[in-house]
C-alpha cells in the first residue's frame, strides 16, 4: 500500500472514513436488529482496516478478532440464533424522549466540547493558529468525533437493550479513533485502546448474556419496570 500514490491514499482514507460513518449510521438507525448487528460487524471490520491504515497492525488484528468476530458473535447470541428463544427481530419500542432535533442537543454539545478540546490540543502542540488547526485535525479524529456524536445520540435515544449495546460499541470505536487521533502513535495509546477493546468485548459478552436471559425470564427488552420493559 505504501507504493500507492498520495492521492490514492487520501482517497482511500476518505472512502474508509465515509464508509465507517455510513456503517455506523446504518448500524445505529436500523430498527431491524438483525441488519443492525450485521452492519456492526461490517463496521468493526472497517475499524480493523482503519487501524491497519493508521499503522497499528496489532490493533487491527485485535479489532478483527475481538471487535468483529467475538463481539459480533455475542450480539448474534443475544439476538438468538436458535429458533427457540429468538428476540423479536425488529425494535418496536418508541425512543426515549426528547425526540427529533432536541435529542441531538446533548450529543452535539459533547461533540463541540470534544472537538474544541482536540483542536486546542493540536493548536497547542503545533503552535498553529486555530484555522490552520482545523486543517491539521486529521481524518480519524474527525470521524471518531462524529461517531461519538452518533453513538451518544443512539445510546440516549434507543431503549432496546441490544441497540444500546450496539450504540455503546460504536461509541467505543469512536472514542478509540479520537484517542488514536489526538495522541498519535504512542505505546500508551495503543495499550489504552487494547484495554478498551478487551473491556468492550467483555462488556458486550456480559451484556449479550444479560439481554438474552432477561428476555428468557420475562420477555424484557428494555430497562423499565413495566411488561416487556415498558416504562
Amino acid at each position: 500500500m505504501a507504493m500507492l500514490p498520495e492521492a490514492v491514499m487520501v482517497a482511500l482514507d476518505v472512502m474508509l472514513a465515509v464508509l465507517l460513518l455510513v456503517m455506523a449510521l446504518a448500524c445505529l438507525v436500523d430498527r431491524c436488529l438483525w441488519r443492525a448487528c450485521r452492519n456492526f460487524v461490517c463496521f468493526a471490520v472497517l475499524m480493523a482496516l482503519t487501524w491497519w491504515q493508521l499503522g497499528s497492525p496489532l490493533l487491527a488484528v485485535v479489532e478483527a478478532v475481538l471487535g468483529a468476530m467475538l463481539t459480533g458473535l455475542s450480539l448474534f447470541f443475544a439476538l438468538g440464533i436458535d429458533a427457540h428463544h429468538r428476540l423479536p427481530r425488529r425494535d418496536t419500542l418508541p425512543g426515549s424522549p426528547p425526540s427529533g432535533l432536541k435529542s441531538w442537543l446533548l450529543p452535539l454539545a459533547w461533540l463541540v466540547m470534544a472537538t474544541t478540546a482536540s483542536l486546542l490540543l493540536l493548536v497547542d502542540d503545533a503552535g498553529t493558529s486555530f484555522s490552520e488547526a482545523l486543517m491539521v485535525l486529521d481524518l480519524p479524529t474527525i470521524v471518531g468525533l462524529v461517531i461519538i456524536g452518533l453513538g451518544l445520540w443512539a445510546f440516549t435515544r434507543h431503549r432496546h437493550l441490544l441497540r444500546r449495546l450496539l450504540a455503546f460499541n460504536v461509541l467505543g470505536s469512536g472514542v478509540f479513533l479520537v484517542l488514536a487521533g489526538v495522541t498519535g502513535p504512542r505505546i500508551e495509546a495503543q495499550a489504552l485502546i487494547l484495554a478498551g477493546l478487551i473491556v468492550a468485548l467483555l462488556g458486550s459478552l456480559l451484556g449479550a448474556s444479560l439481554i438474552r436471559r432477561l428476555f428468557l425470564l420475562d420477555g424484557r427488552l428494555a430497562l423499565g419496570s413495566g411488561p416487556g420493559g415498558a416504562e
Binding site: 450529543p107 459533547w110 440516549t156 430497562l223
Partner: protein
C-alpha cells in the same frame, strides 16, 4: 458531767415522743391482726414527760449539733421555758383526756371496725409526732430545726383535725391545710430572705439582720403573716373556727392552747422585738400589727358570739385573744424599751390563755358527758376558766394586770382601753360558749345518759388546776397581783360583758337565731373559697387550654410532617426519571462541569 446531762436530756425529750410515734407503725407491722390492741396505752401517755426535765433550772441550757441539718443549736431561756411548761402540761393532760375521749373508738375496734382501728392508729401516730414538732420548735435556736419543728407540728396536726373523717372534718382539714401551706410558704420566703440577707442559719442573728437589712420590714411582714396564720391574725384566722369544732376535743385543746402559741413563738423568735433602734418602718409595721390585732379581738368577739357550736365559739375566742396578744407583741416594735417587761406579760398571757382555753375545750367534752358529780359543782367548775379568761380572777386577772401596768408605764393608755373593751367581747363569748354547752348538755342528757369516769375528768380537773395555779409556778417569774383598788378597773369589762350578754340573750333571742344561720363558722373562708373556685376553675381551664394549645401546635407540626412525607412521593417519581436518564445526565454533568470550570475565574 453536767455538760453532757443537758444534751442527753434534751435529746431524749425530743426523741421520746418521736419514738412513741414510730412505735405505732412498728406495732402495727409486727402483728397485723390485733383487735384488742390498745394504741393509746400508758406508754403513749408519757410522750411529753421527759420534756418536764427541761424545766429544771439548767445552768447552761444549750446544745450544739454540728451535723444536724444546716447545723443545729437547741437552747432554752425563760420565755421559752414557760411556753415549754405550757406545752408539756397541756399535751400531757390532753393526752390523758384523749384516752378517755377515744375509748368509744377503742370499743368499736374491738368490735371489729377496721376503720376505727385505723383512725386510732393514725391518732396514736400523729399525736406524739405533733408533740415532737412542737417541742422541737420551742427549743430550736437554728432556723432549720425551728422550721422542721414548726412544719412537723403543722402537718401532723392535719391528721388530728381530719380524725373523724366526716364531711365537716374534711372541710376543716382542707381549710387548715390550705392556710397552713400558705403560711409555710410565707414563713419560708421570710426566713430565706432574712437569712440570705443576714447570711446566717441562726434565729438570733436573723433578728439582728432584719433590722440591718434594706428591706427588713418586708421580711418581717412576711414572717408576721406567715406565723400569723397559726396565730390567727385577722384574715388568716379562717381555719380556726373550721378546724376546732371538727377535731377531737383533746386535739382542739392543744390546737387552741398550744399550737397557735407556736405562731406567737415564731414572732418572738424572728421579729426584732425590743431592738434598740428598729427604725421607722418597723414602728409602722408595729402599728399595722396592733390595728390588725385589735380588729381580730373585736371582730372575732362579735362574730363568735353569733356561733352556736361551743367549740366554734371558743375558737373565735382564741382568735380574739390572739388578736389581743398580737397587739401586745406589736408594742415590742412601737415601744421597744418596754419590751423586757412586756415580754413577761405576753408570755404570762400566752400561757394563761393556753391553759385556760385548753380547760375550756376539754370542758366541752365534759359537759357533753358529765361525770358523776353534782351538777352545780360541775357548772361552777366549767364557769371558772371562763371567768379567768375574762380576767375576773386567777391567772386571767394576773396577766391582765401584768400588761396593764406595762402599758401604763409605756404611756399607752388608749391600748389598755381597747384591750379592756376586747375583754368585754371575751366575756360575751364565754357567756355564749357556756350557754351553748348548757343547751347541748341538756339535749345530750336526754339521749345519752352514759356518765364518764376515769381519765377525762381527771385530765380536765388537772388542766383547771394548772390554769388556776399558773401564776405560782410559771418559770418566767412570779407575776404581781393587782392591789384591791385596781380591781374595779379590771373587773368592769367582765361585768359589762355579763350584762350585755344577758340583755342580748333576753332581748334579741329570736333575731339572734336568724343571724346565726347567716353566719357560718369560718366567716371569710366561704367567700374566699367561692372566689378561689372561680379563679381556680379559670386557671385550670387556662392550664388545660395551654396544654391543648401546645398539643395543637404539635399536631399541626405532625400534620405538616405527614404532608411532607406524602410529598416525598414526588421524589420517588424523580428517582425513576433519574434512572431513565442516567446517560443523558452524565453527559449534561460533564458539560456543566466543563462550562463551570472554564467560565469560573
Amino acid at each position: 458531767m453536767s455538760n453532757l446531762l443537758f444534751p442527753s436530756v434534751i435529746i431524749v425529750a425530743m426523741l421520746w415522743p418521736f419514738g412513741l410515734a414510730m412505735r405505732v407503725p412498728v406495732r402495727g407491722w409486727l402483728s397485723s391482726s390485733g383487735r384488742s390492741r390498745v394504741w393509746l396505752d400508758g406508754w403513749w401517755c408519757t410522750a411529753p414527760l421527759p420534756a418536764l426535765a427541761l424545766l429544771l433550772p439548767w445552768s447552761e441550757p444549750s446544745l450544739t449539733l454540728s451535723w444536724w441539718l444546716l447545723g443545729g443549736v437547741w437552747s432554752l431561756d425563760d420565755p421559752r421555758r414557760s411556753l415549754l411548761a405550757l406545752t408539756v402540761l397541756l399535751w400531757g393532760l390532753a393526752g390523758l383526756y384523749a384516752r378517755g375521749y377515744l375509748a368509744s373508738e377503742q370499743h368499736r375496734q374491738e368490735a371489729g371496725d377496721d376503720n376505727a382501728a385505723r383512725r386510732l392508729q393514725r391518732f396514736a401516730l400523729f399525736w406524739p409526732l405533733c408533740l415532737a414538732g412542737n417541742l422541737l420548735l420551742i427549743v430550736a435556736e437554728d432556723i432549720a430545726s425551728f422550721y422542721l419543728g414548726f412544719s412537723t407540728m403543722t402537718f401532723a396536726a392535719y391528721a388530728l383535725v381530719v380524725h373523724a373523717g366526716t364531711r365537716d372534718a374534711q372541710t376543716g382539714g382542707l381549710a387548715y391545710l390550705v392556710m397552713a401551706v400558705l403560711g409555710e410558704g410565707m414563713i419560708l420566703a421570710g426566713l430565706l430572705w432574712a437569712a440570705g440577707s443576714a447570711e446566717t442559719t441562726m434565729l438570733d442573728e436573723l433578728r439582728e439582720g432584719l433590722v440591718e437589712a434594706e428591706q427588713g420590714v418586708w421580711m418581717a411582714a412576711l414572717l408576721w403573716l406567715g406565723f400569723g396564720v397559726k396565730a390567727g391574725v385577722v384574715g388568716l384566722h379562717v381555719w380556726l373556727p373550721l378546724a376546732h369544732p371538727v377535731a377531737p376535743t383533746p386535739a382542739s385543746a392543744v390546737l387552741s392552747g398550744v399550737m397557735i402559741k407556736a405562731g406567737l413563738l415564731g414572732w418572738l423568735m424572728t421579729l426584732p422585738l425590743g431592738h434598740a433602734d428598729p427604725g421607722e418602718a418597723f414602728v409602722m409595721l408595729g402599728r399595722v400589727m396592733s390595728v390588725a390585732g385589735l380588729a381580730a379581738a373585736f371582730g372575732a368577739a362579735v362574730y363568735g358570739a353569733c356561733q352556736s357550736h361551743p367549740k366554734a365559739v371558743l375558737a373565735y375566742s382564741s382568735v380574739s385573744q390572739m388578736g389581743m396578744l398580737t397587739a401586745l407583741v406589736a408594742m415590742g416594735l412601737i415601744v421597744p424599751e418596754q419590751w423586757p417587761a412586756l415580754l413577761a406579760a405576753v408570755v404570762l398571757f400566752a400561757c394563761h390563755h393556753g391553759l385556760t382555753k385548753g380547760t375550756l375545750f376539754l370542758g366541752v367534752g365534759i359537759s357533753e358527758h358529765p361525770p358523776r358529780m353534782p351538777s352545780w359543782l360541775l357548772w361552777a367548775l366549767l364557769l371558772l376558766p371562763g371567768l379567768s379568761l375574762s380576767g375576773v380572777l386567777g391567772s386571767g386577772l394576773a396577766s391582765k394586770w401584768g400588761y396593764k401596768t406595762v402599758l401604763y408605764d409605756a404611756d399607752h393608755k388608749d391600748l389598755v382601753l381597747w384591750l379592756s373593751l376586747a375583754a368585754v367581747g371575751t366575756t360575751l363569748l364565754m357567756a355564749r360558749a357556756l350557754w351553748c354547752q348548757w343547751r347541748a348538755a341538756r339535749q345530750a342528757s336526754h339521749d345519752d345518759p352514759v356518765a364518764l369516769t376515769g381519765a377525762m375528768p381527771v385530765a380536765w380537773l388537772g388542766t383547771l388546776l394548772a390554769a388556776a395555779s399558773l401564776p405560782w409556778w410559771l418559770p418566767m417569774g412570779r407575776p404581781d397581783w393587782p392591789p384591791l383598788g385596781e380591781l374595779v378597773g379590771l373587773w368592769w369589762p367582765a361585768a359589762l360583758g355579763v350584762v350585755l350578754a344577758v340583755s342580748i340573750g333576753l332581748m334579741a333571742r329570736q333575731h339572734l337565731h336568724e343571724v346565726i344561720k347567716k353566719l357560718p363558722p369560718g366567716d371569710l373562708w366561704w367567700p374566699l373559697m367561692r372566689g378561689y373556685q372561680a379563679v381556680a376553675g379559670r386557671v385550670a381551664r387556662g392550664v388545660s387550654r395551654l396544654g391543648a394549645s401546645v398539643a395543637a401546635v404539635v399536631r399541626r407540626l405532625q400534620a405538616l410532617e405527614r404532608w411532607l412525607v406524602d410529598g416525598l412521593g414526588v421524589l420517588a417519581r424523580g428517582e425513576q426519571w433519574l434512572g431513565r436518564h442516567g446517560a443523558v445526565l452524565m453527559m449534561a454533568s460533564a458539560l456543566l462541569l466543563a462550562i463551570i470550570m472554564l467560565v469560573a475565574p
